[in-house]
């Protein structure tokens, strides 16, 4: 376990050595919320009460999604730069290696999302300790699930990195646009809602909003959302563990 923690700490130190990404992420979050969020909430008006708060949670889901994507890219980058074969020679099991990657992902996600979350809750007057903790838990579980998907897809990069990037861009577009990240299920046309319930972001977004006290009539059942988010985290991490265990040996990104 010590070795896993050492490897995770090494990756996290590399992450913290360049804080530019964090400042950029927070600054862009603030800009989008202050300009796009405030103006769109005026345009939406009473059609969806408190759209500003709804959008701010959606923006946090995007931050979680992007940092999970970072973990997948970091994994592929390690293979591309030749660091992966080095990590595989370390006296650490494959599952231990995956756990260290997941810990790196969690640190990356929490550092990017926790300050904006606390700031939004403080400014909107919704800051409560249980609300913030449970919202962070929901975002953490969602981040784990998306990280699992991204690491599982990395086997594509072992064949062709361009195809991996294209798949990632296409998948991101589908998962975000068809989810309830920026609009609730209630306003979606009937022909889109069945696709929306297939996106893990739908459940993560609605669960986080429910924890933060958003009007439940616009949200999915929170028990269902919690079960789905947890199931996705467990299943995709198990899948990525199998991939790391079986496919990764001797790979080289094309």
């Amino acid at each position: 376990m010590n070795r896993v923690l050492n490897l995770a700490a090494f990756n996290i130190r590399v992450l913290l050595s360049d804080p530019t990404w964090f400042f950029l992420s927070w600054a862009l979050f603030a800009l989008q919320l202050a300009v796009y969020g405030s103006l769109m909430s005026k345009l939406v008006g009473s059609n969806l009460p408190n759209y500003f708060f709804f959008y701010s949670i959606g923006l946090m889901i995007i931050v979680v999604f992007e940092s999970a994507e970072d973990v997948g890219r970091h994994f592929v980058e390690n293979a591309h730069e030749g660091e992966l074969p080095y990590f595989l020679t370390l006296p650490i099991s494959r599952s231990g290696f995956l756990v260290s990657q997941a810990m790196y992902g969690v640190a990356n996600t929490l550092l990017k999302v926790a300050p904006p979350l606390l700031a939004v809750l403080f400014v909107s007057g919704n800051l409560t300790v249980p609300g913030a903790l449970f919202a962070l838990l929901a975002l953490f579980l969602l981040g784990l699930g998306i990280t699992g998907i991204m690491v599982s897809l990395s086997f594509i990069a072992f064949k062709a990195v361009d195809i991996y990037l294209a798949v990632l861009a296409g998948l991101s577009a589908l998962l975000v646009r068809f989810s309830t990240v920026f609009y609730p299920l209630a306003v979606m046309p009937n022909y889109y809602s069945p696709i929306s319930v297939l996106s893990p972001l739908t459940y993560g977004a609605d669960l986080t909003r429910w924890f933060l006290g958003f009007d439940p009539k616009y949200l999915l059942n929170p028990v269902l959302a919690a079960v789905v988010v947890t199931a996705i985290a467990v299943s995709t991490l198990s899948l990525s563990a199998r991939i790391v265990d079986k496919i990764i040996e001797g790979v080289k990104v094309a």
């Binding site: 360049d18 800009l31 300009v35 345009l43 939406v44 296409g170 577009a173 609009y183 306003v187 979606m188």
Partner: protein, 197 residues
């Protein structure tokens, strides 16, 4: 190109449609020219990614051995970015014409030179950021900052009138003079629609 088109199409057929249901049906027609403009921006700034990759992978060393001056190489990259943006946004406009008034296409034909100049300018900006990005993945910091700031502070999603009404004057002025705002306005279906949202 297929990925870029699918991104813009999903913006048009999902995001714009759902936002139209949340705001008003006419908002869809307001937003579609903006989505085409964002598409032009994305395709043009892809030049930066290609230059960054060429510098990183060492392909640029090969280019330097070709019988062409360095300035010629830079101009070739920028023009290719401009043409890429033009071709891509034209394809999007044709697709958009099925959803909004075909008058847009007629306008767009007259706007081709303007769109090319805009795409070339954006490609040049992206090329500049790629060329000064010597440290690791810092290019993506610049690219993301450029994309979010230019698109958010523009009239792609909301009109200049709305920005001026709710946000401080300097932000409204930046949005007014933002080239993406100018392009979205030029591609818009009618002047009345431009100020509606």
């Amino acid at each position: 190109m297929a990925v870029l088109i699918s991104l813009s199409l999903s913006d048009m057929l999902v995001t714009a449609l759902v936002l139209g249901r949340m705001i008003s049906p006419e908002y869809f027609s307001f937003l579609v020219p903006g989505i085409v403009t964002v598409g032009l921006f994305t395709a043009a700034t892809d030049t930066g990614r290609r230059i960054w990759l060429a510098l990183r992978e060492g392909v640029v060393q090969y280019y330097m051995t070709l019988p062409i001056r360095t300035s010629g190489l830079v101009v070739a990259y920028i023009i290719s970015g401009g043409l890429g943006g033009l071709v891509y946004s034209s394809a999007l406009l044709i697709i958009a014409s099925f959803a909004v008034h075909p008058q847009n296409i007629v306008n767009a034909i007259f706007l081709v030179p303007f769109m090319f100049v805009l795409a070339t300018g954006l490609a040049g900006l992206a090329a500049f950021f790629a060329s000064i990005s010597r440290r690791g993945e810092i290019y993506w910091v610049y690219a993301q900052a450029l994309q979010v700031s230019l698109i958010t502070i523009s009239t792609v999603f909301y009109s200049a009138k709305t920005i001026a009404q709710y946000l401080p004057g300097p932000i409204a002025t930046i949005a007014d003079y933002n080239p993406l705002s100018l392009a979205a306005t030029a591609l818009s279906e009618s002047p009345s629609l431009v100020d509606s949202y």
